[in-house]
Symmetry: D2
Subunit: 345 residues, 4 copies
Amino acid sequence: MIKVAIVGASGYTGVELARILCNHPRITLTTVTSRQHEGKPLSRVFPNLYKKVDLVCENLTPAELCSRADVIFTAVPHKTAMDIVPQLLAEKKKVIDLSADFRLRDVAVYEQWYQKHTSPQFLKEAVYGLPELYRDQIQSCSLIANPGCYPTSIILGLAPLLKAGVIDPQSIIADSKSGTSGAGRSALVSSLYCEVADGFRAYKVADHRHTPEIEQEINRLGHCNVNISFTPHLLPLSRGILSTLYARLDKGTGNDQVRDLYETMYKNEHFVRVLPEGIFPATQYVRGSNFCDIGFKIDPRTGRIIVMSAIDNIVKGAAGQAVQNMNLMCGFPEAAGLEGAPFFP
Amino acid sequence: MIKVAIVGASGYTGVELARILCNHPRITLTTVTSRQHEGKPLSRVFPNLYKKVDLVCENLTPAELCSRADVIFTAVPHKTAMDIVPQLLAEKKKVIDLSADFRLRDVAVYEQWYQKHTSPQFLKEAVYGLPELYRDQIQSCSLIANPGCYPTSIILGLAPLLKAGVIDPQSIIADSKSGTSGAGRSALVSSLYCEVADGFRAYKVADHRHTPEIEQEINRLGHCNVNISFTPHLLPLSRGILSTLYARLDKGTGNDQVRDLYETMYKNEHFVRVLPEGIFPATQYVRGSNFCDIGFKIDPRTGRIIVMSAIDNIVKGAAGQAVQNMNLMCGFPEAAGLEGAPFFP
Amino acid sequence: MIKVAIVGASGYTGVELARILCNHPRITLTTVTSRQHEGKPLSRVFPNLYKKVDLVCENLTPAELCSRADVIFTAVPHKTAMDIVPQLLAEKKKVIDLSADFRLRDVAVYEQWYQKHTSPQFLKEAVYGLPELYRDQIQSCSLIANPGCYPTSIILGLAPLLKAGVIDPQSIIADSKSGTSGAGRSALVSSLYCEVADGFRAYKVADHRHTPEIEQEINRLGHCNVNISFTPHLLPLSRGILSTLYARLDKGTGNDQVRDLYETMYKNEHFVRVLPEGIFPATQYVRGSNFCDIGFKIDPRTGRIIVMSAIDNIVKGAAGQAVQNMNLMCGFPEAAGLEGAPFFP
Amino acid sequence: MIKVAIVGASGYTGVELARILCNHPRITLTTVTSRQHEGKPLSRVFPNLYKKVDLVCENLTPAELCSRADVIFTAVPHKTAMDIVPQLLAEKKKVIDLSADFRLRDVAVYEQWYQKHTSPQFLKEAVYGLPELYRDQIQSCSLIANPGCYPTSIILGLAPLLKAGVIDPQSIIADSKSGTSGAGRSALVSSLYCEVADGFRAYKVADHRHTPEIEQEINRLGHCNVNISFTPHLLPLSRGILSTLYARLDKGTGNDQVRDLYETMYKNEHFVRVLPEGIFPATQYVRGSNFCDIGFKIDPRTGRIIVMSAIDNIVKGAAGQAVQNMNLMCGFPEAAGLEGAPFFP
C-alpha cells in the first residue's frame, strides 16, 4: 500500500480528499495536516468522517511530511503551495498540488494575475492534471498542477470543437455557475447561509483568476491566441458547476459532425459522459461523482453552438480529479476509488 | 375605490397579485377565480393570505366577471387568455393580461412560436406593458400585454445601450437564470423539490418562447433585425431572475459614457436601480419588490460589455409590473401598493 | 413625524428594522449606527435598501443618539445593551431593546444564565414586549424588553392553555426549529452556507439561554413554578421558527373547548392567526410578516395536546414585534407599517 | 454472482437501490421494473445513472421476475407489495420488501392503520429488517420487512434505554424531521420546490402510519404496552431524518451509565455511530451513507433525557438498510457495497 498525506485537510477540498481516499483500495491515508486544528481528530472537524478516518490533524514540516508519505496532496492556498512543493519534490515525492501555483506555464502571466512566483523553475516540469488532455505526461511526472474547477468544466466542454477547428475561438463566452463550496471554508460574511441562500449573483466579472488558465488551454487546443469572456456566478447550492459555453460555429458544421467530434474524443474516457441528443447536463446528476457531463445544441438562427458541461466542483473540479491523477501517476486503475455513482436526489 | 378581479388566482402569479392588491390603497379586490379550487377560500389554497384576503374562488363567465370589476387581471395560460380577453374589452373593462397572447405584434411570429391566434385584431391595440419604455401608451390604453419575466430583465438591461447604438445587436447573448416559481404551480415531476434543490441546469436551449418577445423589443430599440442567443436556466430558489448579458461594445465607448446612458435613461424611474460602480445585482436584493437592479462591467480584453440585471420574477417579472401598469392606466401614483422594500435575508 | 434611530443596524435584525421603518407612515428614520461599518451607507451593507434608506452608518455616543431621535431601537448584543440603555432613558427617550438584558425580572436568574447585570434597577420598569400579554403596560412604559424569538413562538402557542389551567405545565416540551438568520450575521464557520444547507441539527440542547425567559412567562401564566424542556434546532432556511409544543391535557378537555380558548384569547389580535381545524402552521405562510400562526391537535391515544406555532423569527420574533411595541408606546395604530401580507412562495 | 432485481425502480428508493447495487462487489443487477417508464432506460429516468446502469425499465409478471433474479427488492407502495411478494416467495426467492405490508406482526393493527391484508400468513415468517435488533433472524429468513425511515431512527435511538429499563416508555415523545425525498416522487403540488423550499411544517400530527410500527418495537424492547407521541415534520432538504426523542429518565441514572448502555449495545455495529460527549448528530454528516448517528443529553432540571438520532432517510432509512439486509441474508460481509463515507458538504 502506498502511503498518502493531505496537506491542508481542513478545507472542503481536504475533507473530500479524505472521503475518497479512506475507501481507496490501493493506498493508506497516513497523515492529515491543518495548522488551525492541530491536535484535533479530523473527524471532529468533519464529523462525517467519524469511524472512517481516525487521523489527528498535525502541523508538520516538509521534512516530516516526506517521512510519512509517498504521495502528497497539497490542498493549501496559492503562495503557500509554492513554498512547500519544491521541498517535497526534492525528496522524490509525488506531489499533486491543488493550488494555482503551477498551472500557468508562463511565469509572467502568473505574476500578472497572482503575485511573484518563487519557484518558477518547476513550471516546466509540472503537468497540467487534466487526464483527458495530458494522460501520458501525467503518468510519468512528479508534480501535478491540478486544474481549477471552472477551467475543468470549460476546457472539457470545448476541447473537441477547438481541436477540430470548427468554432471561432475569439467568439467564446463562458458563463459559469458554481456552488458555494468553491468559496472555501473561510469564515466570511459573504459565504454565510443567509447571504447565499435564495440568491444568485455574478462575481469577479471579467476579472477572475481562472481566466488565464482557461485561455492557456483554449489557445493550445485551438492553436490560437485569444482572450475569452468568462463570468463566474455563485449558486445557492453546495456542490456543482454548470458552464454554459457559447461560440460561433463554422457554417456547414452540422449536428452529426459535432456529435462525432465529442464521441470520438471522449469514447474511452471513464469520467466524461457525452449525453444523448436532447439531454442537457444538470449538476444534480453528477453530484458526489467524478463525472463531467456534456451536452450541446446548435442554434441555426444565430449560427452559434451552445455547449453545457456539468461537474461536481469538489470532485472532478478538485479532489476527485486529484485522485484520478494519483491513480495515473501510480499505475493504478484510473477509476480506483472513484467508481461511486452520483447521488440523486 | 376601483373594483378589481384576478382571473386565475391559484397560480404563483395569482397569489402574488392577491398579496400586493390586498394592501393597495386605491382599489378593492372583489373577485378571484379558479376553476380547480371553485368554492374554496383563496386563503385555503394559500394560507399566507389568511385574514388578509377573504374571498372564495369562483368559476365565472366573462359576463359575470364584468359585473364584478372595472379592472381585470388575467393570469391564465396563453390560449385561454385570448378566448376571454375580447369579451372583457367589449364591456369596456381595463384588462392586464399576464399571458403571452398579446405581446407579439406580428401575428405570424406568434403563430410560429405558439399556435393559431383567434383574436389577432387586438394585437394592434394591446400595449406592451413595460412602463420604462411605453409609459404614455400604457396610460391611455385598455389592454396591457404584461411582459414576460425574462424579457423584462433583458430588455431593461440592454435598452440604454441599444437606444444609444453603442453595441452590436448581432452579438447579444442573454444567459438568464430563473427561480422555480417561473415554472408555475402545476404538479410536474420536473418541478418537485427533490428534482430542483441542489441542482442547476439549462432548459429549452435556443428554443424558449420568450425569444421572439425579446427580439421584438431589441430590434425596435436598436432599429435592427437580429436574432439573439437566449438561454434560460433553472435556479434552486423560488423567486428571482438574473440575466447576464453580453455584447460587443463600440470601440471608444468608455465606462463613464455607459454609466451616463444608464443614469440618464433611468434617473426618474421608480423601479430601476442602476447600481453604483463595482456593485453587481443579486436576486436576493430585489426579492419581494418591484425593483430591477442593473450593473455592468466593460472588459477591455475582449471588447465586450457584460450587463447584469436582477428582478423578482413574480413581482417586476409578473404581478408587480402588472400592478404598476394598473396604476398607470388608472391614474394612480405609479408606485401605489408597490412601495415595500426588498426582503433580505 | 417622530424621529427614530436604530442602534446596531448592521445585523439581520437591524436591516429588517430598516426595511419596516422606511415605509412606516408615522415616523422618520433619522439615524442608523454601526461601529463596524461607520461611514458607509447602510445600503452598501445591505443593497436591498438601495434607494429606500439613504442613511450612512455612524458611531455615536448615547448623548448624540438622544439628540437625533425620540424612539431608539437597540439591536445590539446583550451586555452592550445594558451599558447604553440607561443613558437613553435618562434623556426621556423611549427605548425598545432587542437584547436579552431586560427580559428577566429576576436578576439572579439573569446572572445565572448570562453575566453580571450592571443596571438591575431597570428590570422592574422594563415591560416584556409581548403585546398579546402586556398591551396595557407597553402603552405607558419607556423601556421595552423585546422578547426573544423562540419565547415569542412558545408563549403565544401555550398561553390560552396555561391561563385556562387545562394542561400540566410540568409536562411541557418545546421542540423548536429556527431559520439561520437567528444565528446572526457574524462570520462564523458554523453559519456558512455549506455547513447549514441540506442539513439539520439540534444545538444547545437543554442549555439555551431562552429557557429562563420561556419559563418566566409560562410560570406566570400558569401560576406555577416548573422547568420545561426546550430544544432549539437549526433549519436550512433563512427566516422562520416553528415550535412544536407538547403537554398533557386534562382529561375531559375536548377539542371544542380548546378551540374556544384560543379563539377567545386571540380574536381581537391583529397578528395572531388561529388556523382553522385541520390546518397546521408552516413557516412559509408567515414569512416576511408579523403574524404568529397557531394550530393544534389533541391526541386521545396519549392524552397529550400538540400545539404548533409559526413566526418569522426576524419579524414577529424581533424587528416586527419591536415596531408593534413602538406603535403601542407612541399611540399609533398597532399594525402601522406591519400590514404587509406574508410572501409565498 | 447473485442476480438481483428491483421492482419499482422509478422512485427515489429505487434509484438509490440502483446507485448502491451498481457498485456492489457480490451481485449483478439484472432487472429493473417500472410500469410507468416501461421501455425506457433507467438512466433516462435518472440521468445520474448514465454509464453506471444500462438496464431498461420493464413491466414483468412475478413469474418473469423469478426467472431473472435470486434476490428481489420490492420498492412498491403498500398493498401492491402484498400482492406480489407471496408469488416470489413461492419460487424460493429472497425478498426484501420496502413497503409497510409485512412490518406489523399483528394483522389487526395493520388493518386498522392501512387496509385489509390479503396475505396475513406471511406476517409470521417476515423478519423486521433492523439488523441491530434482528441480525440472527435476518440471516436465515426469506422475507424481510424493511423498516420505515422514521422507525429506524427512533428505534435505534431508544433501544439501549428501553432494553435497560431506565426510561419511562409512557413518557416517550418522538419529534422527527424528514427530508422531502421521504414524500416520494409522485407529482403532487405539496411536494413542489416552491411549496417546500424555505419552509417547515408538521404533518399527519398524531396520525402517521409509522406510529404502530414504532410502538411495536418499543413495546417489545421495553416489555411494555404504551402509546407514544410521534410528530413528523417536513424539512426543506432532500435527504435526512433527525429524530429528537424525549423520555423521563429514572432517577439515579447518570451520564456515564447511559453512555455505557449505548456503547455496549452498539460497539460492534458497523453502521451505528455513538457520538462523543457533547457532539450532537446532524443530518449533513450522514448524507449518502448507511450510518445512524446518535447523541444524547441528560437534563437534570427536568429529569428528562434528550436523544437525537440522524440517518439518511433513503439509505439507512430505506435502500441502504435493504442492502444491509441482503448482505446478511446472502452471507456477504454486512457492509458490502455500503462502505462509502458520508459526503459533506
